[in-house]
């Protein structure tokens, strides 16, 4: 039965989803044309808690893993310039594979669940973060590096104390783009059986009842904006010299 499969897919979170909804008789539920049913939303808001938390975890872990890998690759490419074109092309190919396909292609290899989703999601962040770190590092003025060299800094010191701090705006910029997109893509993690807000969007009943889609989509967008605001604040504190110049 399709509905049986549906319940299984939605996992713990969506158990009894359709049944529960039809058993109650809220006025606006009877009319599928209603865009948003406040009564239903008030009664059922708690069912979005666990998916939202799952989504948050997926995004946080994926971006952290993606950042670590992309940052390491960018530093490597910074030292060995010949690595740049192949790395850019490689991360570009990963970025081009549609996320649903990516999840499904991984399933026979890694099995269903959170790990699969995290592998795919972090692979998506590589391209954006890698590119921004590389651009940030190459935008550091040669004069700043010369001055550092003149002060007797080693290459390692120049990297960590001059180049990376000056490249922080680009690096955080990449991190922001990557995080915001990952929040959106993580709704598709339902295809990897990894939960998330997609479980509340991707159900048969929702085709005639958009309230749940709107709530889940709204939470996802709010989450993306919050991540963005937090990262922007981090950037401001990490680059105090920019604030001084601005004032």
């Amino acid at each position: 039965m399709a509905s049986g499969v549906l319940f299984a897919a939605a996992g713990e979170v969506g158990k009894g989803f359709i049944h529960e909804r039809t058993s109650e008789t809220l006025p606006c539920q009877a009319k599928p044309s209603h865009l948003f049913c406040w009564d239903w939303a008030r009664q059922n808001i708690d069912r979005f808690g666990t998916p939202a938390l799952q989504q948050f975890e997926l995004v946080a872990i994926s971006v952290a893993v993606g950042f670590a890998v992309a940052f390491a690759l960018a530093l490597l490419a910074h030292r060995r310039r010949w690595l740049r074109p192949p790395l850019l092309a490689g991360t570009g190919v990963l970025y081009a594979i549609p996320s649903i396909a990516f999840f499904l292609l991984l399933l026979p290899i890694t099995g269903r669940g959170r790990e699969t989703a995290i592998i795919a999601l972090s692979a998506y962040t590589l391209q954006i973060i890698y590119r921004n770190v590389t651009v940030g590092l190459s935008n550091v003025p040669a004069s700043a590096k010369d001055a550092a060299r003149g002060m007797g800094m080693t290459e390692r010191q120049i990297l960590w104390r001059v180049e990376l701090p000056l490249a922080t705006p680009e690096i955080v910029g990449g991190l922001r783009i990557a995080t915001v997109s990952t929040v959106a893509i993580a709704t598709l993690a339902v295809f990897a059986h990894a939960g998330g807000l997609g479980t509340q969007i991707f159900t048969e009943a929702n085709l005639h009842f958009p309230t749940s889609i709107l709530i889940a989509g709204g939470i996802a967008m709010l989450m993306a904006l919050s991540f963005d605001a937090i990262l922007l604040t981090v950037q401001r504190f990490a680059t105090p010299w920019r604030r001084v110049r601005a004032s």
Binding site: A2, L6, P98, F102, P108, V180, T187
Partner: protein, 240 residues
């Protein structure tokens, strides 16, 4: 079209998936129905390509002139950049599901929904690309008597081409990826295999994923090739 989610892709194998792509077989899930095979796979692939091209064309018609215009005038930065950022935060799945639920299903609605996904990256990247063109070049063009249209057409657009193409490629990736869930909106793309495991079986799901990934990569490489072709000779030389 049932929305039953994939149940047992874990039991699928790449060998079985390739067999599904190349040879029609009797569905062992619903029994009796013939599924898979090259002709069905090609048909669904072409539908997905068609939907993608239509939506991309619509997005280009809207976003490219707007990006060129606002970039040239240097106005509307807040809107152009803000739209790009907001567009990135919209969950594709929610957008398609919502469009299907509210406006209804069909090719036209789907095309519009997909085009909405493609507009922000094209608009933002075109705008930024045009703004970043060296102002001295633009002044020089104006000095030798070019009209504003000529400046955009012959100076700004060619120099902003890499950025514009970044936008188009991002838009294409978004659109072709999201076209996978088009069966939700009543259009049978390759997502038909992916969302219809109870008909096509686990190998069908995997076969759909393989084809979607291939299609996306072919589009990506074609656009990269097109960009190379369109880049003006002078700029190609100076890049070396």
């Amino acid at each position: 079209m049932s929305l039953a989610l994939i149940q047992a892709p874990v039991s699928a194998s790449f060998g079985g998936a390739f067999e599904f792509i190349f040879t029609p077989q009797t569905s062992n899930v619903t029994g009796g129905k013939t599924v898979g095979g090259l002709s069905q796979v090609v048909e669904l692939t072409l539908t997905q390509l068609e939907v993608t091209v239509l939506a991309l064309a619509l997005a280009l018609v809207v976003a490219l002139p707007a990006g060129l215009y606002f970039g040239h005038r240097g106005t509307g930065e807040l809107v152009a950049i803000g739209l790009g950022n907001a567009g990135r935060a919209v969950p594709e799945l929610a957008l398609i599901a919502l469009m299907a639920a509210v406006i209804g299903v069909g090719l036209l609605n789907l095309t519009v929904a997909l085009a909405i996904l493609g507009i922000p990256p094209i608009l933002t990247n075109t705008f930024v690309g045009i703004r970043e063109v060296d102002r001295a070049s633009v002044d020089a063009a104006r000095g030798i008597g070019m009209t504003e249209f000529e400046i955009v057409h012959k100076v700004e657009a060619p120099m902003a081409l890499p950025s514009i193409f970044t936008g188009i490629r991002t838009a294409t990736i978004n659109i072709v990826a999201t076209a996978t869930i088009a069966p939700l909106a009543g259009v049978a793309t390759l997502g038909e295999f992916i969302l219809g495991e109870n008909v096509y079986g686990a190998n069908g799901v995997l076969a759909g994923a393989i084809m979607v990934a291939l299609l996306a990569l072919v589009l990506e490489f074609s656009l990269a090739g097109l960009q190379r072709l369109l880049t003006s000779k002078g700029l190609r030389l100076s890049a070396v």
